[in-house]
Symmetry: C2
Subunit: 319 residues, 2 copies
């Protein structure tokens, strides 16, 4: 099942060196979710040939312009392009007022329903479908700011369809998907492992928006398959990172390491840096599996395979 | 003296075919004025290497997103880049509320003074310096909408410095600049035409934002050196132009013709048109001197030269 993140914008504050304001597109089983929507996100979506109408859920981290100023335009353009499907926007208090006042002054009555979901507290269930759940995670920034945790639901055992005998009943199939051994309609006993494979572990993508670094363990981040963490500065600006409630690449990597994540994606680069390679150089000693949020690139939320299976006793090694 | 208009965005409503939302930069004697500021105007300014800090006056026509959604970002970026000089924003009622609420929710205290000038009526003097005056002109759109008239001030006669005799007093020079004949300190009489040239006629640039076509004469537009008039549609959509309070290329050209302007610039093209050449084809039969608002291009507000001079009796032909 597809679970991936496309980077639409990777810069902080100003536009610079062809880098845009923050925005990411999460694709979970062909359902598209937008995280943050800096100015010109519309243009980035056009550039990467993503139809606006496919996005039904937009998650805004906080009300600094480089994270939300493209939202109103996207709302208007959806309207002008004849959207009829509901659009859900999630974000901190105040965003509804910003949207409402602009709809009012443009005398716009949208031809679709716009639902605003205010984020009040960490971990509240914002969205779920049969594949994933989305919950907010609190950041430490100058104004209220939330990250988002996209977590797959527990999945069932996968049937090895090529080798299933004809003697199985509907109930046998259900039991196999639950990981049980079965007795078929001929009275023969089959171990689960002989006909099914254990499910992938539920994957998670954790988006940590603008934040100061803290060493405390956040349970929602632990063992994430992919963690995005802002890395606005290099070590030369560590003091500034602290006073502006941002992080350095090294701090992002330290955060990844203490949470035992599988892979770290860093972005939100300051406009003072033309070359972003030094972000990798400073992050990797703390956390080797770090990658740069390069615009236009798509990063898979890599599944962790169960690698040892003993009969019905499944031993899963998180490598 | 420089008086020119650079097109930063030429499309209406949506981004399409590389065309951006409306924005124009007026350069009057190296003073820069922004007219409208659609989303991503910041990026367009970067593209054409125009420093944000050089713009001190921004004129917004109306509160449809494609004309102002880039303003808040530009205000924020000016702040982040350390601007200290005052910034003046002119626009219809409501724009101040939109700005204020976004400054509030981002907890921003700008490190420069932002002055909002609300436009209440046509022709009020919004701005003047020694070179030009700027006044609003009312449009006929679905919501309150103003165009802007940039008009040069009357200029003085120009001294032909190469041939000025040494016998002239300070008062003689002042009189020559006023177009008078003089008697110099040696008692010799000089005609004004022998030592000075008549001034260029004051030039005007008229920006007609989103509007329905009307045939009535607007005195502020008459004889404009350069008229920008929106041309959202071609003739095939004439009915739609009427109902959406927009104009066709042919209507823009008719408006130019009845106002005897020198040159017409058309833009605000609908996203339904990939090729904008037909806009010219449909405009030219009504008004030959029509040009397309192509992004990145700069159009001079062409002066009208006084072409016949008879002694002190100046006959100016507006060609």
């Amino acid at each position: 099942m597809t679970f991936e993140v496309k980077i639409l914008g990777s810069n902080s504050a100003s536009f610079a060196f062809g880098r845009h304001h923050t925005s990411q597109l999460v694709n979970s089983n062909q359902n598209l979710f937008l995280i943050d929507c800096g100015e010109a996100t519309q243009i980035q979506l056009l550039r990467y040939q993503i139809r606006y109408s496919r996005i039904n859920h937009i998650f805004i981290s906080h009300l600094h312009g480089d994270h939300y100023l493209g939202l109103i335009g996207l709302i208007f353009t959806n309207h002008l392009q004849g959207r009829t499907e509901d659009l859900h926007v999630y974000g901190p208090k105040g965003l509804d007022e910003i949207i409402t006042i602009q709809l009012k002054h443009s005398d716009s009555r949208l031809n679709y329903n716009l639902h605003f979901h205010q984020i009040d507290e960490e971990n509240q269930l914002l969205f779920e479908n049969e594949d994933i759940e989305v919950r907010p995670i609190k950041m430490d920034h100058r104004i209220p700011c939330f990250g988002y945790v996209f977590k797959e639901k527990e999945r069932k055992f996968r049937l090895n369809r090529e080798i299933l005998p004809n003697s199985l009943s509907k109930e046998n199939l259900i039991d196999l998907k639950e990981g049980k051994d079965i007795v078929d309609t001929d009275g023969k006993t089959w171990t689960n492992a002989s006909l099914a494979s254990p499910p992938h572990l539920p994957r998670s993508y954790v988006y940590c928006a603008d934040t100061r670094f803290h060493a405390e363990i956040r349970p929602q981040v632990q063992n994430a398959n992919l963690l995005y963490h802002e890395a606005t500065f290099l070590n030369d600006m560590q003091a500034r990172a602290e006073t502006t409630f941002h992080s350095t690449a090294q701090e992002a990597a330290r955060f990844a390491a203490i949470h035992n994540v599988r892979q770290l994606l860093i972005g939100h680069f300051s406009s003072r840096y033309f070359d972003v390679q030094p972000f990798l150089t400073e992050a990797k000693p703390e956390f080797e599996n770090t990658i740069l949020a390069i615009e236009g690139q798509t990063f898979e939320v890599t599944p962790v395979q169960p690698i040892k299976v003993k009969e019905n006793n499944v031993e899963i090694v998180n490598n």
